[in-house]
């Protein structure tokens, strides 16, 4: 007997949260549940997607006509810096971390992530890091040396004021969060898979999460070092990058791009994973070439580390270095091409259903492929001397990052939304959202290729009339506003889902992987009994037999970790210390660090063993939600 969702939910909250019932806000602030943490990551990501989007729209208004005075030129510098920083670090990363947190543990049949407490610490570090960078708007100038913060431009001498200090310290804090998150995901995937789930039976989204986490573990420390050096140089009188004091500005560029290039794959690989899940489900076929997909994922991760110098072709490293990095960059096209063809072959002969998630996956394919083509063009070092620093580059990386990450993420979000909330989104609004975004996107960024080839440099706040640049800029601006409207439609769809959306049920898409074998929304403990995995797509195997996924253990009490406010306290301490460091207030630096130290000390001495959920409870939740 199906019951109304509200009743089921209230029931659920009442008993499973047994130790002590909390107000929902306090519950979220202290949660260590990977689903709730995932939801908060997604909320952070969507928020900064909107902030970064508004910053983009302001820039597009400025560039609508030549010699426009809509924003001042220093403000324009701040806008493109904050747009890039927000979109990469505080939109793309949290969106990826959010969906990995929400779905990956369930896909592998785990009850939780390996380190639930540390998971909450990661979330709150990301939160205060993003906050610290963005409140710079209210405390003097915002960062204005680009999201890559090239030296020497970003140093005190050329960018005075506190803007870059907010950037350096905020990113450092968020970066710690990302590193801890990645370690958590790796330990979870390697150690907590359900019985029978060998590495080559893991869903591709889990595989891409694993490789992405590996990239973070080796990619973020160089950024950490770079940011520390930057901080020591700007705040404490060190000399690393200032050539007049014996420093080397290229040192920062190397450290930044040793992180920065893998970062592109860090955000795009999980999106590839989402596309793989969506394409297989909505083609009603096993993913074509599963093993080659895994190999391609690993290869992309590996080669992604070998190519950072292609950001520096024009700094004068010489023909030999440029050739090596040009070729290694082009090599990435091979595993990426393998993936694209595997997606196409999965669709070939499948029963394709054009639901919103599949629409975004279909929109992703040509868009990302165009981004790949222009990538190979840019990878040709001699040609890059012509393109670099022009709008052609801007067009290229938006084709890969929006075409890859944003379309991939929307495919994943429309796909998993019923699983996360228990409600269906509107398909009509989903299609409108997709078409507005697809048309708006290509209208915005395709003309940028041409503007770039016709001589429009990037990062400039205006251009002269009569150079033939007006029409391309105006098309871009119109396209950007259409994309803005598509986001409003998306927001409307979320509101629709929560007010009028149908109750989803466990498996609304007739899907293949384990997360669709548990009720929607996912219970706190994920699986009442750990499942037994007998192959790739375990749920599909069970459905073909006309049965359910078998259990690998008898029904028993489930151990759960306890909620804690300490992760939030630690993040607040770091926020205080970071903010104080920007203004050289030693007392508050020490105070903030003490808060963290005391919180860690308390956590390490506090032997909280968590609590258990009894079998009667998990059985009842399963029955009422079935």
């Amino acid at each position: 007997m199906a019951k109304p969702l509200e009743e089921v939910l209230s029931h659920h909250v009442h008993t499973v949260e047994a130790p002590h019932k909390r107000h929902w806000l306090l519950d979220y602030l202290s949660t260590v549940d990977h689903k709730k943490i995932g939801i908060m990551y997604v909320l952070i990501g969507v928020f900064y997607l909107l902030v970064g989007g508004v910053e983009a729209l302001l820039m597009r208004i400025q560039l609508f006509v030549p010699n426009n005075q809509f924003v001042s030129y220093p403000t324009f510098n701040e806008l493109f810096t904050m747009h890039g920083t927000n979109m990469i670090f505080f939109a793309a990363m949290p969106l990826i971390f959010g969906l990995v947190n929400l779905i990956m543990p369930v896909q592998i049949g785990a009850r939780d992530v390996a380190f639930p407490f540390m998971n909450a610490v990661s979330l709150w570090f990301t939160f205060v890091g993003a906050l610290l960078v963005n409140i710079s708007w209210f405390f003097g100038p915002a960062p204005s040396a680009g999201w890559f913060a090239y030296t020497p431009i970003g140093l005190d001498k050329y960018t005075p004021g506190t803007g870059m200090d907010f950037y350096v310290i905020g990113l450092q804090i968020a970066g710690f969060g990302s590193l801890m998150g990645a370690i958590n995901f790796i330990a979870t995937i390697l150690n907590m898979r359900a019985p029978g789930m060998t590495l080559l039976r893991m869903p591709l989204f889990t595989w891409t999460s694993l490789v992405t986490s590996g990239l973070i573990v080796f990619g973020f420390p160089p950024l950490t070092v770079g940011l520390f050096l930057y901080m020591f140089e700007r705040l404490f009188g060190g000399h690393f990058f200032d050539a007049t004091m014996g420093g080397n500005p290229l040192l920062w560029t190397h450290l930044f791009w040793i992180f920065g290039h893998p970062e592109v794959y860090i955000v795009v690989l999980p999106a590839f994973g989402m596309i793989s899940e969506v394409v297989a489900t909505f083609s009603r076929k096993r993913i074509f070439g599963y093993t080659s997909m895994v190999i391609a994922t690993v290869l992309i991760g590996f080669i992604g580390f070998m190519v950072w110098v292609h950001h520096m072709f024009t700094v004068g490293l010489g023909a030999m270095a440029n050739s090596i990095f040009a070729i290694s960059t082009m090599l990435i096209g091979i595993p990426t091409g393998m993936k694209v063809f595997n997606w196409l072959f999965t669709m070939w002969g499948g029963q394709i259903r054009f639901k919103p998630p599949m629409m975004f996956a279909l929109g992703f394919l040509p868009t990302f492929v165009i981004g790949g083509f222009t990538g190979v063009m840019l990878a040709a070092a001699p040609a890059d001397f012509q393109y670099h620093g022009s709008y052609f580059v801007v067009a290229h990386f938006h084709y890969t990052l929006i075409g890859g990450v944003v379309f991939g993420f929307f495919a994943g979000l429309y796909y998993w939304f019923p699983k996360i909330t228990g409600r269906m989104m509107s398909e009509v609004l989903g299609h409108i959202n997709f078409w507005l975004m697809f048309i708006g996107f290509h209208l915005t960024f395709f003309p940028m290729h041409l503007a770039g080839l016709f001589g429009m440099p990037r990062r400039v706040p205006t251009y002269n009339p009569g150079m033939g640049l007006e029409i391309w800029n105006q098309l871009s601006t119109i396209g950007a506003f259409i994309m803005g409207v598509s986001m409003i439609v998306f927001a409307a769809n979320v509101v629709y889902a929560f007010t009028k959306g149908k109750v989803a049920g466990a498996d609304p898409w007739d899907a293949r992987t384990l997360e669709w074998a548990v009720p929607s929304p996912i219970p706190e403990y994920n699986f009442a009994q750990t499942p037994l995995v007998r192959g790739l797509d375990p749920l599909w195997i069970a459905k073909e037999e006309g049965s359910t996924v078998p259990a690998a253990e008898p029904l028993g009490p489930i151990h759960m970790p306890s909620n804690s406010f300490l992760p939030l306290v630690m993040a607040v301490g770091l926020f205080i210390a970071g903010f104080a460091a920007i203004y050289h207030r030693l007392f508050f630096i020490v105070l903030g660090l003490e808060v963290i130290a005391l919180a860690m000390f308390y956590h390490s001495l506090n032997d909280d063993e968590g609590h258990h959920i009894l079998p009667e409870e998990s059985t009842r939740v399963r029955e009422v939600r079935a």
Partner: protein
């Protein structure tokens, strides 16, 4: 479809870890595995710091050079103290595997004392340099030197505090499946810090004293 499988088999990385009380629980296995991954990240961190140092070490801006500053005896003393502490750390883990709490605490205590000795030598060294007009902001070389060696020193200091707190906990609860992984990963960390010092000893001090550039 693949063949049916009725018996679950060992598939997870932690299933293959058979060390001692530290991997008796899933939580312990997660901690040990996760910490190895963290050390991978630490390798990338120190590699970046070494790269920075190697880039900038010749840029002394008329300030003191490595050859003028470094003295082998004091560095040798620091090295002996730190490498010995790795040995005592191993003896502590052996004691834990035997279930001998008293011996574990004693060896951890010796490890902490040796770590403190190392830090004391480093403080003396830095004060000496400051007296010779070699501060953090003297040159690109000095900034890179203090950053690399200071990061390592910070790691040692963190390890000393960490192991001390663990000793407090062990005294309260004894060797439990919950405490054992914490002790084990602290010892992993301590060995890692030692290994980094071997590289610092070679790349910074030996190459500096010998004037290899």
């Amino acid at each position: 479809m693949e063949a049916m499988e009725t018996q679950p088999r060992l598939v997870n990385a932690g299933d293959r870890l058979e060390l001692g009380p530290e991997t008796a629980t899933l939580e312990g296995k997660n901690k040990v595995l996760g910490f190895w991954v963290f050390l991978g990240g630490e390798c990338a961190l120190f590699a970046s710091l070494f790269a920075t140092y190697l880039t900038l070490r010749g840029h002394t801006l008329n300030g003191p050079t490595a050859h003028e500053l470094f003295h082998l005896p004091i560095i040798g003393l620091a090295t002996i103290l730190l490498l010995t502490s790795s040995l005592t750390g191993v003896l502590g883990i052996n004691a834990m595997h035997r279930g001998n709490l008293g011996s574990l605490l004693r060896w951890l205590g010796v490890t902490v004392l040796l770590g403190l000795g190392f830090l004391a030598v480093q403080v003396v060294e830095f004060i000496t340099y400051a007296g010779e007009g070699f501060g953090f902001g003297t040159s690109a070389f000095s900034s890179a030197f203090f950053t690399l060696v200071g990061f390592h020193g910070g790691h040692v200091a963190f390890g000393v505090i960490w192991i001390s707190i663990l000793m407090l906990q062990l005294r309260r609860s004894g060797i439990t499946p919950r405490k054992a992984p914490k002790v084990f990963i602290a010892s992993l960390y301590w060995h890692f810090v030692d290994v980094v010092w071997v590289f610092i000893f070679t790349v910074v001090y030996l190459m500096g004293i010998l004037g290899i550039s």
